[in-house]
């Protein structure tokens, strides 16, 4: 019997190849999209979970709430914070602080740059990372020890024996020999920690004058800190007591506002930090949970869409099998047997589609990974295996999609079917259900398309919007502050300025793209309330020209004006503001601020110029209020910037030659503005593209479904068209009748989809500080697209039906 059913199924599918292909293709594509998006979602939600005991490892987060500025979430905390916390709360079993460091490694023939992480000796007690060689418990106890990842060990010691070997590291201007004490496995991509090389965090390794600033004060935020807390509820208990901790511990000196208001600490378990970082200072690489949820929704909806499509085509096709059902019933088949037959057919088809979907996913993943910079991979079995998910989906979709047609087909009354020349289509109820399903399908597809349109518009906006600075022709040299250049910076900058093609070269105390929480309290006379805190930036000559910042009011700093120069020790120094700072200080407009006094740490300064706001960081971040001060002196921690015209490669080569002359062992590195922004924009871009992919596929499945429906419905209406034409209808009339029938659900779907998409996108755009405004076009273009797709889809069938000779059409039935 099953063999017999299989044969019938095979022949039916083979005979109605179009339906079979549409059915399987729709489901396969739906399943492939579902799998791909779910892999992405699982990739994002699985961050850090691989780390042993991840739930018991907590990072110390800090939310800074400076008055007048939006609160800022960061994982950068003071080096003193975690030791103080561990001393106060015995629940903390072990802790480690991490401090990023760029070191140079002297090899036999050259010096290479390497990112290293300085960590406390207890690092491995917190992070029980898989060790390939060496003993983790003692690996970091010697100040001259270094731990490498497998890849890095292979790079420096290609013979495979790294343990016990030595490396000469130059860090902070000091050269020392380090011994490799352990090799750890490379960290998988699902890791927030970016670790390649570990060296002990040692106060003595820093210049004496820097030690106190780095390790003893509460206003320098240069470490991240992790604690191991295994006791259930302990982390929550500590979090509840954090305010007391701040009152008890934090030294009030140097902090611009009442402490409790400014500093809010919290401990967060590792699995949560990937999502939490999206709202803060460390947004690059983090995932916005809303976007991930949206992707999951798209995945499920696409699968639902494919299932709806299947149901629709299957019920439509079922009528073609009405005669078969009637005969089987006449010959003694029970309704149950028929239901089982049709359900197993649906399951089999779904399984087939799942296999195709799986193959499609395998084919698509390399492309998607290359496109989005991800490392998604299908694993079939094991805890992360897709097979159970896939089988689950097959059962759910197979039963869901097969149940309705099975119930409809098996209900056909044999006597009625056999007596009639026409096949029943499930009756008026069946037609209604099919219309509802087509409507649902197009509504989902249109919501997707409208959302995708807004997302793409937002991406385009982010890529091309005026960021307030000239992004082309800008090079940023972050290593300008390295000790190798001590005493040579001014002359190097002059040499840069004299290089052909260079328009301006400058130095400032920080890179605008790295962000800063250096702040200054500023006040205006006669304004009560908390003094707003502004980001203070010390800038050198030509700063605004080099970054391409534009003037909104007043004038730029003048190197010849002593009142502008903070290094000249003249009272009544002049400062500049950005537009946000103007608003923060309560001036009605930039012009109104010019010439006005502002009190900075109690000293009176005068606003001489206002520049347009510039966005150097994530489009999600609010632009901070900035106060610029000019200094002709050596700027501490300076970052150089060069504005150039013409061939970037040529300029770069000329700058590099000058650099190598000044600092022969410090490799030259210059980043363009696009490289700096990439970290913020690439993930957005990737997720939007994934979403658009889902949306396109949803539309495609919708079109497939419509195509199948058109084939079915026009075939059933051929007789009606014949009668209408006999009565005088033209081919055009018939065409309008048929096409109109299919456009109705698309139009109805638009009416439902537009408000839904509008709401979703309003919520989504809210997360961006710099955002595109919603336009009617974002909604009408997808609708027009859907209408065009619908017309093109049904046109072929409609034309064939409309042009049929009436006599033939009537005879056909």
């Amino acid at each position: 019997m099953p063999g017999h059913h299989m044969r019938t199924l095979y022949r039916t599918l083979n005979r109605h190849r179009l339906y079979t292909a549409l059915n399987i293709a729709g489901l396969a594509v739906g399943i492939a999209v579902f799998l791909t998006l779910m892999l992405t979602v699982r990739f994002e939600t699985g961050f850090n979970r691989w780390i042993p005991d991840a739930d018991n490892i907590h990072r110390l987060n800090l939310t800074l709430a400076f008055p007048g500025r939006p609160s800022q979430f960061t994982s950068n905390v003071q080096a003193v914070a975690m030791p103080a916390l561990a001393a106060d709360y015995p629940q903390i079993e072990a802790y480690t602080r991490l401090m990023g460091a760029s070191v140079r490694i002297r090899l036999a023939d050259r010096t290479v740059m390497q990112r290293a992480t300085r960590v406390d000796p207890d690092f491995f007690e917190v992070f029980n990372l898989p060790v390939v060689a060496g003993d983790a418990s003692t690996a970091l106890s010697d100040p001259a020890s270094v731990v490498l990842t497998e890849t890095l060990a292979g790079t420096f010691f290609p013979n495979g024996q790294a343990l016990g070997e030595t490396l000469t590291l130059i860090a902070g201007g000091r050269e020392s020999v380090y011994t490799v004490t352990a090799v750890i496995r490379d960290l998988p991509p699902q890791t927030s920690l970016r670790i390649e090389m570990l060296i002990p965090l040692n106060r003595a390794d820093f210049p004496l004058e820097e030690q106190a600033r780095l390790f003893d004060v509460w206003n320098n935020f240069s470490t991240t800190a992790y604690a191991r807390i295994s006791e259930p509820g302990a982390a929550e208990a500590i979090n509840a007591d954090m305010e007391n901790f701040v009152i008890r511990r934090v030294n009030p000196d140097n902090l611009p506002a009442p402490l409790v208001e400014v500093l809010r600490y919290d401990l967060m378990a590792l699995p949560h930090i990937h999502f939490a970082d999206a709202r803060g200072h460390d947004a690059a690489g983090a995932a916005d949970p809303a976007v991930v949820r949206l992707l999951a929704l798209v995945a499920v909806m696409t699968l639902a869409l494919a299932a709806i499509n299947y149901i629709n085509l299957a019920t439509a096709r079922s009528s073609l099998r009405a005669r078969e059902v009637a005969i089987r019933k006449t010959l003694g088949a029970t309704r149950g047997a028929l239901i089982i037959q049709f359900l197993s057919e649906a399951m089999l088809l779904t399984l087939l589609a799942a296999l195709f979907g799986l193959a499609l996913t395998e084919l698509a993943l390399p492309v998607i990974n290359a496109y989005g910079g991800t490392q998604l991979a299908l694993t079939y079995v094991g805890p992360d295996g897709v097979l159970p998910v896939l089988l689950g989906a097959v059962v759910v979709v197979g039963l869901g999609a097969g149940a309705w047609p099975a119930l409809v087909i098996s209900r056909f009354a044999p006597a009625a079917v056999l007596a009639s020349a026409r096949s029943p289509g499930g009756g008026r109820a069946g037609a209604r259900v099919r219309s509802a399903l087509v409507l649902a399908q197009f509504t989902i597809a249109l919501i997707f398309a409208m959302c995708a349109a807004v997302m793409l518009a937002q991406n385009h906006h982010m890529r091309h919007a005026d960021l307030g600075f000239e992004r082309d022709g800008l090079l940023i040299l972050e290593r300008f502050s390295w000790p190798d250049l001590d005493g040579r910076r001014a002359s190097l900058l002059d040499q840069f300025r004299n290089t052909p093609g260079v328009i301006a070269a400058t130095v400032s105390d920080r890179s605008p793209a790295t962000g800063s929480i250096t702040s200054a309290n500023a006040a205006r006379l006669g304004h009560s309330g908390a003094e707003p805190s502004l980001v203070m930036e010390i800038v050198g000559e030509d700063y605004f020209a080099a970054y391409g910042l534009r003037l909104a009011a007043g004038r730029f700093f003048d190197a010849d004006n002593r009142l502008d120069d903070a290094a000249s020790e003249v009272d009544g120094r002049n400062v500049m503001l950005n537009e946000t700072a103007v608003r923060t200080l309560g001036f009605p407009d930039p012009q109104a601020a010019i010439g006005e006094p502002v009190y900075l740490f109690g000293n009176r300064v005068t606003v001489t110029g206002v520049v347009r706001d510039a966005r150097f960081r994530s489009p999600r971040e609010v632009i901070p209020p900035v106060l610029y001060r000019y200094s002709s002196g050596d700027i501490e921690g300076g970052v150089a910037a060069v504005r150039h015209a013409g061939d970037p490669a040529g300029i770069r080569a000329r700058l590099e030659a000058l650099w190598q002359e000044a600092a022969p062992v410090l490799p030259f590195e210059a980043e363009t503005a696009d490289q700096l922004l990439h970290a913020y924009y690439a993930p957005e871009d990737h997720r939007s593209r994934l979403f658009s992919l889902g949306a396109s596929v949803a539309m495609l499945i919708g079109a497939l479904g419509l195509y199948g429906m058109a084939a079915f419905v026009t075939a059933r209406r051929i007789r009606e068209i014949g009668i209408r034409k006999t009565l005088g209808a033209s081919t055009g009339d018939a065409l309008r009748l048929l096409i109109g029938q299919f456009l109705r659900p698309v139009v109805a779907a638009s009416v439902i989809a537009a408000p839904a998409a509008f709401w979703i996108m309003t919520v989504w755009l809210d997360r961006f500080d710099d955002r595109v405004s919603l336009s009617v076009l974002h909604f009408t273009v997808p609708v027009l697209g859907a209408l065009v797709i619908a017309v093109l889809t049904v046109l072929g069938h409609a034309v064939a039906a409309a042009r049929a000779e009436p006599a033939r059409a009537l005879r056909a039935n």
Binding site: R11, I327, K329, L331, G332, A333, T334, A415
Partner: protein, 227 residues
């Protein structure tokens, strides 16, 4: 074997009620060959469908082998059809996707009592009997109307049913094919099968031992003749 009394079959739409059968009383004994005749729309096919248990009467009582069919569940009816009945239609009603062998085999599929070998033997016998064994591997659309009807007969008789119901079995055939089909049916009846046949053809009705004549959903004449 069959006892119908007070059988009615109404078709209702929202506005109209049509009586396809009214107060039918009919008894058919085992081995009879009954022809049902009458003008188009008089209820012949409806009566056959009711007898064949693929349509339920609106009122009345239908006893099949002393079993009340009207009250039986769908499942019971399906079982009765599979075990006792064979159907032959004017439009053959073969399944296009199946070969002739497979179509004939369908007459046994829902019986579930025979082994694969027994089924194959029975199918071969049935096809032999109606003379289409040489077309066994063909699909219905590759056969002439007469051949298709013979295949349909093979499917009806492959299960050795006690009752064969034929709804204008020669209606779509030319006279030569029509007489061939009638010869087969007569042969089946001669071997003991009960045969109820709806027909428009007086000549074919004459071959039956009993002619039931219908008009407007009622039996107006029930004539038994000597064979």
């Amino acid at each position: 074997m069959i006892a119908l009394s007070g059988i009615e079959r109404l078709y209702r739409t929202e506005e109209v009620e049509t009586a396809a059968l009214g107060q039918i009383a009919l008894e058919i004994s085992q081995g009879e060959f009954v022809a049902v005749t009458g003008p188009s729309g008089c209820g012949k096919s409806t009566l056959l469908n009711v007898i064949g248990m693929i349509d339920r009467p609106t009122a009345g009582r239908y006893m099949f082998y002393d079993q009340d069919v009207c009250a039986a569940s769908e499942r019971t009816l399906a079982g009765l059809r599979a075990r006792h009945l064979g159907f032959i239609f004017q439009t053959f009603n073969l399944i296009d996707e199946l070969t002739i062998t497979e179509n004939v085999e369908l007459g046994l599929v829902y019986r579930r009592t025979l082994s694969g070998t027994e089924r194959r033997i029975r199918v071969a016998e049935a096809m032999d009997r109606v003379g289409i064994a040489h077309r066994a591997r063909h699909f219905p659309h590759q056969l002439s109307g007469g051949q298709q009807q013979r295949a349909a007969i093979a499917r009806a008789i492959v299960g050795h049913p006690e009752l064969i119901l034929a709804d204008e079995p020669t209606g779509n055939l030319d006279s030569r094919n029509g007489s061939q089909v009638m010869d087969i049916l007569q042969g089946l009846n001669a071997q003991g099968a009960t045969l109820v046949m709806v027909t428009h053809s007086p000549a074919h009705a004459d071959m039956a031992g009993r002619v039931v004549e219908m008009l407007d959903g009622r039996i107006v004449a029930d004539v038994r003749r000597r064979a």
